[in-house]
């Protein structure tokens, strides 16, 4: 009790004056409202402006829009699945092993975040385009990557690559390898170790990474824009379709598709907050067990 009071007093002593606190809070709130809340609300207002019937018609009536939704649902899960494998492998390597080039690999994982998605698209075009590096070979074997489904998956994959790995690396480092070493000493084989120890320990962080990755994959625009060739009904994903409808002055149609992506974002946010809370609790519990090992 006394300790708690003491802590509260000392925290107050460290705090800035009230006016600073409230000025900062109101600035942050104003910016968030202007840049995030208002546009988000506007998307739904515009989408439903002519009623639910029209909204539904806008979403399902146009075959190209229907196809764009279907295509996104086909591209994103594959990209997420691939990144799940890449992310796990990268996180495992970085969090569990010391090897030359580890720091370089860690930095490299962040590259897709720092580089503009358009550059990624151009890069894929240069490699796999008909005039590109692998172009002649691809043409010979009649394989279509650019302006086709594989190109969309590759672009999406590259851009969303860091999401899963960046979520797992700090988590695995915080949890440490102790339980895994214990499991091995008890005779666990690699697959048993993974299934019985590692996966249950990182499952919330992993799920969070997957959901975040999915949201980013479905919303990806820049890289996909370059490699898709925007062929309506063939290579247009949802974000590309939104842009095209907007360019064609079909605002209700554009906002209807946009509202689906916005809804996805809101759901992701909700799940993310829940999962983050769970992950943090597990790490804290782990730390408490380490530091207070002896207490009852």
């Amino acid at each position: 009790m006394a300790e708690q009071t003491l802590r509260r007093v000392s925290r107050r002593a460290h705090e800035d004056p009230t006016w600073v606190k409230w000025t900062l809070i109101s600035i942050a709130l104003t910016i968030m409202t202007l840049l995030v809340v208002v546009p988000l609300v506007d998307v739904f207002v515009e989408a439903f402006a002519a009623g639910i019937g029209t909204y539904w018609q806008n979403l399902t009536g146009d075959p190209d829009t229907r196809h764009s939704i279907l295509l996104t649902l086909m591209v994103a899960p594959v990209a997420v699945a691939l990144n799940l494998v890449f992310g796990l492998a990268a996180a495992w390597a970085i969090a569990r092993f010391k090897f030359p080039g580890r720091a370089f690999l860690t930095a490299l994982i962040d590259l897709p975040i720092t580089v503009s998605p358009v550059v990624v698209g151009l890069f894929l075009l240069l490699l796999f385009g008909l005039q590109g590096f692998f172009g002649p070979w691809l043409r010979e074997h009649d394989i279509h990557i650019v302006f086709a489904y594989p190109g969309l998956v590759m672009a999406t994959c590259f851009v969303t690559f860091p999401v899963v790995a960046r979520e797992l690396i700090p988590l695995m480092e915080a949890l440490g390898a102790e339980e895994e070493i214990a499991a091995v000493s008890l005779g666990a084989k690699p697959l048993q170790l993974w299934r019985m120890i590692t996966l249950p320990n990182i499952k919330w962080g992993l799920l969070y990474g997957v959901i975040l990755c999915n949201a980013r994959a479905m919303g990806e625009f820049g890289a996909v824009f370059v490699v898709s060739g925007h062929i309506a009904g063939k290579t247009d994903t949802m974000p590309l379709r939104i842009e095209k409808l907007f360019q064609e002055y079909n605002l209700p149609g554009s906002f209807a598709v946009a509202s689906v992506l916005a809804l996805l974002a809101l759901v992701t946010l909700l799940v993310k907050t829940t999962l983050e809370w769970r992950t943090r609790r597990e790490i804290e519990e782990h730390k408490r067990m380490l530091t207070l090992g002896g207490e009852a």
Binding site: I181, A182, A188, K189, Q192, M196, I197, N201, E295, A296
Partner: protein, 352 residues
Amino acid sequence: MSITVKNVTKRFGGFVALDDVSLEVPAGELLALLGPSGSGKTTLLRIISGLETADGGTVYYQDEDVTDAAVRERNVGFVFQHYALFRHMNVFDNVAFGLRVRNRSRSEIKNRVHELIRLVQLEGLERSLPSQLSGGQRQRVALARALAAQLKVLLLDEPFGALDAKVRTELRQWLRRLHDELHVTSVFVTHDQEEAFEVSDRVVIMNKGKIEQIGSPAEIFERPANPFVMDFLGNVNVFHGSVQSGRATLGNIEVAYPEYMGSQSRTAMAFVRSHELEILTSKNGRPSLEAKVTHVNPARPVVKVRVYSEAFGVVLNVDLSWERFNELKLNAGDTVYVSPRQMRVFVQDYAI
């Protein structure tokens, strides 16, 4: 199953953690590796377990060379310093782990786990998660888990290190009883000599990657092999002097030292334990040091008296029984005469 370590060496960069260490642990023994931090005791334990690989030397289990065997193949039970319990598994599943990965039958697992949980006295907590247990309970789960697969070797890394004093004492007595029941060859690492001496059959004292002495607790206490062991055991006073022609001279105290009969004087150190010093209020003819009482600490079970000898510039710690203390009625500032009942003399190496 016996354990033999032969000429094992281990380096971490420029640091020599183990320097040509050899050790034998007979089957069924409970052995303690005792030493200050950085002495190599944990590294030795990890090399025995296979968690660490030696740079040179061999490790045998019975007659089998296991030096290159992975930890998974060695079938040892290892108890980690922070227990490393599986946090998402309850007590039952933690203990069952070693059996499940070996694909034992469901009924066998159930029987064995219940037997172990009874053994470590955790009945009723089968469904609890590690985070819901006290430190002592977690430690016992870790032990049960390590014992589950009926292994022939049990290795424990600072098993009581993270527990508070009272739980520690209880648990180590319990570990000793458990060992007497199971007779599994066990090695544990500790930096607490009381713990090592109370629990183990034999103690290995380590320092700077080498073994200083191996022996039963009584042997080590009665006949410390060298100044390091003497000093490490603590509660000891050091006198500096010399030896010559079978006599050791330390200030005005002289004792026989038949181990060195040479006529050339050599530097020596003498160690006297606190309880081996006698305090007199007047001279009685025996060689003694005049000293002044500087501090009296009436602790239990002995009174700890600190005296200062001005002539030799040394502070001595003396443990007195309460009876003796009441007889002497010592106060700070009193002049007393201190004489050793017993002392151990070590001639220093030429190298020093």
